[in-house]
């Protein structure tokens, strides 16, 4: 038997015969392999509504809280559990659709790593102790939040006022702040309605409206209509391709930081070649005149032919729409172009403002991130209550956020997950998931006038000792001695009273109608655009040609990093580079060749603020002078699933230049890229850009289409 050593071949033979023997033996006997008895538990309802039937889902309306857009959703609830979200078809914001981040709300809701108990100094505590400590120590507290609106904002404001008027910092890294400021300056309305569907040409400059800018769900629907006959033309100018850029007919790569110069160049061509008038806007007109195509080419690398093509297309397809978020300067110039092209009033119409202004949305910015870090470092903040944002993760090293936080005497986090920020907080209050709690939200983008979305709990708390954000805010406000809140036992009671006052009825039936619809309509007034619109237009000087600049972009999925702990979204490929579970540095093939690297090679990216090391992905949808590292991954304290990847924000620069106008998402910083010599296969869902003749996607040339399909 010495020869019978088990190698692979013998092992398989033995296995095969053994299985055959077992199967033959099993053949002739009645095989009663039964299921378990008495192992699973089955619970009954106590006293269900008549329409609740086990095994059949009931849909309830609520509001999505996965990003600041607050889309209306319907949640399917079965046997007391919410199983699936879909868009609420009756809301103007998203009309029955939601994005992948919204779908993943279910995973966040049932996440095993949610915070389950209040802690004081890292040790489990009772709610009473934690709230008493906040009452005692959080006087004059500043509030550090993400974008907020509705009655949550009202309660935060009354808390602040009662406790001594601490500041409110609203921090969002992915925002529309540049556009809001430009719209306010030129039109007098920070949130005008955009009608992509009514435009015949759209030019976007760094505003990824199909990905993360504004409400992409609404923009995608409008974009679908925009592309229907007659087919609108989409053009994009940006340093690295976004979801919107990938869908554009004309995609122009501009050197990072030069976008404003390109917009001014388009204005120059419109005035000089097409005779478009900038009458009444002398300062804008002089900025356009000064930016001749040669200068644009010099600053941005965009040729005169490309400028002409963009200007010609805008002229030939009226009304058009120019949207920009690349910088404050670019957004201001874009709004002036809209005025010159006569788009204002056609594709840009006035928004509406709520009569109850205290509920209006506060959109976040990284300007507030910088302000918070500087105020804290200067010792101006004695206590802080932090919720809905993660300043430690978002802040570049230059802001010294951990030192800033350590200078704040008393910090409270209201959070559903532990992250880099909650780690340094004295008190952590466990928040129920948005699918377990009450709230109202006023969508900042694209809602019908006066719409207030209602967030309704879809099920009982998964973790019994958590409380809804509204309930916590109410307790904190009552503890701070805010007026008019006595007698409200919970946030539901407060909200019901407030919404009843808003809709002018406290009848049970009317309240139920609001819950059923998922939104209420409050009194509002349309805003009016101001006349004139002349603003001084500037531009920034980008780094000189041939030097590498680090930029970062936001992608639907990871967003600003808040979804990095959700495996569903980690597994969903990046829309542009198709990478899963990891960060990569996007480089132009020519730049990569110059550096001697290829896809999968590790590089070290060094800036004045530090270094990160990650793998390269080469493709042509990026300017040769740019290295783009999408944000959102590389957490250090955000649970099991968020550890992979790197965080480019740490080595970005938020403090350089004019702080009032630099947003982290549109900032850029000089970088050197050096190969480390290592290489590891970059896991992507699509490894080849070619189809190798397999016709996976059928295509037809425009010429053939025109001849065969009855095109124009």
């Amino acid at each position: 038997m010495s020869k019978t050593k088990i190698d692979r071949r013998n092992f398989l033979k033995v296995l095969g015969l053994g299985t055959a023997g077992a199967a033959m033996a099993g053949c002739d006997m009645p095989s009663y392999v039964t299921s378990e008895e008495g192992v699973e538990k089955v619970y009954s309802y106590l006293a269900p509504e008549e329409y609740v039937i086990p095994g059949i889902g009931v849909w309830y309306a609520s509001t999505c809280q996965q990003c600041p857009q607050a889309c209306g959703v319907h949640g399917r609830v079965r046997e007391g559990r919410v199983l699936k979200l879909e868009g609420n078809p009756d809301t103007a914001t998203n009309a029955g659709k939601i994005c992948q981040m919204g779908q993943s709300a279910i995973q966040a809701h049932f996440h095993p790593e949610r915070i389950q108990n209040p802690t004081i100094g890292g040790k489990d505590a009772t709610w009473d102790d934690a709230l008493a400590l906040i009452k005692e120590k959080a006087s004059n507290a500043s509030w550090v939040t993400g974008a907020v609106s509705g009655h949550q904002r009202v309660l935060m404001d009354v808390s602040r006022e009662a406790a001594g008027n601490g500041r409110h910092y609203a921090i969002e890294a992915v925002n529309t702040r540049a556009w809001e400021d430009a719209s306010a300056a030129t039109l007098g309305d920070a949130n005008p309605n955009l009608h992509i569907d009514k435009a015949r040409a759209v030019l976007t400059i760094g505003a990824d409206f199909l990905g993360t800018w504004g409400n992409p769900v609404q923009a995608m629907r409008d974009y679908g209509n925009f592309r229907n006959a007659p087919r609108g033309v989409l053009m994009a100018i940006e340093p690295a391709m976004s979801m919107t850029g990938a869908n554009a007919d004309t995609w122009v790569a501009a050197r990072p930081g030069s976008e404003a110069a390109v917009v001014l160049g388009v204005g120059h061509v419109l005035m000089s070649k097409h005779g478009v008038s900038a009458a009444g806007m002398p300062s804008a007109a002089s900025a356009f005149s000064a930016m001749n195509p040669a200068k644009v080419k010099d600053l941005s690398g965009v040729s005169e032919a490309q400028l002409n093509k963009i200007a010609d297309t805008l002229m030939a397809n009226s009304p058009s729409l120019v949207i920009a978020n690349a910088s404050h300067a670019a957004a201001h110039a874009a709004q002036v172009l809209n005025l010159m092209l006569g788009n204002v009033g056609q594709t840009i119409t006035p928004g509406a403002s709520l009569a109850a202004g205290a509920m209006a949305p506060v959109s976040g910015s990284t300007k507030d991130l910088v302000g918070f870090a500087m105020d804290a470092n200067a010792g101006k903040i004695g206590a802080a209550i932090i919720t809905g944002t993660n300043p430690t993760f978002l802040a570049p090293k230059g802001l010294d956020m951990s030192a800033a936080l350590s200078k704040i005497g008393f910090k409270v986090a209201i959070a559903d997950f532990h992250d880099e920020t909650t780690k340094s907080c004295d008190v952590v209050l466990p928040m129920s998931s948005p699918l377990e709690s009450w709230g109202t939200h006023v969508p900042a983008n694209g809602a019908a006038p006066g719409t207030v979305h209602i967030q309704q709990p879809l099920m009982e708390n998964v973790y019994a000792n958590t409380r809804g954000l509204g309930d916590i805010l109410l307790s904190v406000a009552q503890g701070a001695g805010a007026e008019g809140l006595d007698g409200f036992e919970d946030y539901y009671g407060y909200l019901r009273t407030a919404v009843s006052a808003m809709i002018g009825s406290d009848m049970e039936g009317d309240w139920n109608k609001v819950l059923q619809a998922g939104f209420a309509t409050a009194a509002s007034a349309p805003t009016a655009f101001k006349a004139g619109g002349d603003v001084a237009l500037g531009f920034s000087e980008p780094a000189s040609a041939g030097t590498l600049t680090l930029i970062t972009s936001a992608r639907q999925g990871m967003f600003d990093g808040r979804h990095a702990n959700l495996p569903w979204l980690q597994e969903a490929p990046d829309q542009i580079n198709k990478t899963v579970w990891d960060t990569c540095a996007e480089l132009h093939p020519a730049t990569a060749a110059k550096l001697g690297v290829k896809t999968g090679d590790y590089v070290s990216i060094n800036t004045a603020n530090g270094a990160i090391s990650t793998r390269v992905f080469t493709y042509k949808g990026i300017h040769p002078d740019a290295v783009n590292v999408p944000m959102g991954r590389g957490h250090t304290d955000y649970g099991t699933y968020a550890e992979n990847g790197v965080n480019p924000l740490t080595i970005m620069d938020a403090t350089s230049g004019d702080r009032s106008s630099t947003e982290l998402l549109s900032s850029s910083i000089a970088a050197t890229v050096t190969p480390t010599g290592e290489n590891r296969y970059l896991v992507r869902s699509m490894d080849l850009a070619e189809q190798h003749g397999r016709k996976l996607v059928a295509t037809i040339t425009a010429d053939q289409f025109d001849r065969n399909q009855g095109g124009a």
Partner: protein
């Protein structure tokens, strides 16, 4: 054997082969023979079919006694008092699952009926605390099997001209046995794939894999 003699082609692994095959066979046979609940078909003991138009397997199964939080009796409620199955298991004709009746339904009667019995007092205490009893599931199919109570009741009871709603126990008995004789619950039919398929063949039920396995 001397080294210089030409050797036959040897199969040194053949003993391992046979040994493994025998062991495999013994494991399977042993598992079946010593399986406590194995009860081959015993037509003599099974009740005669009482559902006109249906021809279903008479297999029985001797399930184990599963302890339950409350010692409810099917024999008393359904057997002696003659309460229709569908009165309590009202979801069976509306949904995939038959469901355990909501406590509110129990309390509908037991607020006044037999409220001195200890088991009822146990239930009342749970009801007042807002808790549901954690019943141990007795009749179960694996998660990859999708069985719809609604469809089966439609075919054999609701859309069956020869049946009235009072005959529900006879239809339920096709898969659950005579529940009028047991305490809380006992598995009385094997509920194996063979059991399902036999009935589907006899009654022209669908035979596509994906009807049940989704």
């Amino acid at each position: 054997m001397s080294a210089d003699r030409p050797q036959h082609k040897s199969f040194p692994w053949i003993r391992t082969f046979i040994g493994t095959a025998v062991i495999g066979a013994l494991i399977v046979l042993g598992a079946q023979v010593f399986e406590q609940q194995l009860h081959p078909v015993a037509p003599g003991e099974a009740p005669a079919p009482r559902v006109p138009g249906a021809d279903f397997p008479m297999d029985t199964f001797d399930g184990k006694d599963v302890p339950q939080p409350i010692n409810y009796s099917h024999k008393l409620h359904a057997g002696d008092l003659g309460i229709n199955c569908l009165y309590c298991h009202t979801y069976a004709r509306r949904s995939k699952v038959a469901g355990i009746p909501p406590t509110a339904k129990c309390m509908g009667c037991h607020t006044v009926v037999a409220d001195d019995k200890p088991e009822i007092q146990k239930l009342t205490a749970m009801w007042q605390k807002g808790e549901s009893p954690a019943w141990n599931k007795v009749n179960d199919t694996p998660d990859f099997v999708h069985f719809s109570h609604e469809r089966h009741l439609q075919k054999f009871l609701l859309n069956n001209e020869d049946m009235n709603i009072e005959d529900a126990p006879d239809v339920c008995a096709m898969c659950h046995g005579d529940m009028n004789t047991v305490g809380v619950a006992k598995k009385m039919k094997p509920l194996t794939m063979g059991f399902c398929v036999t009935c589907h063949e006899k009654n022209n039920g669908p035979a596509d894999c994906t009807r049940c396995h989704k």
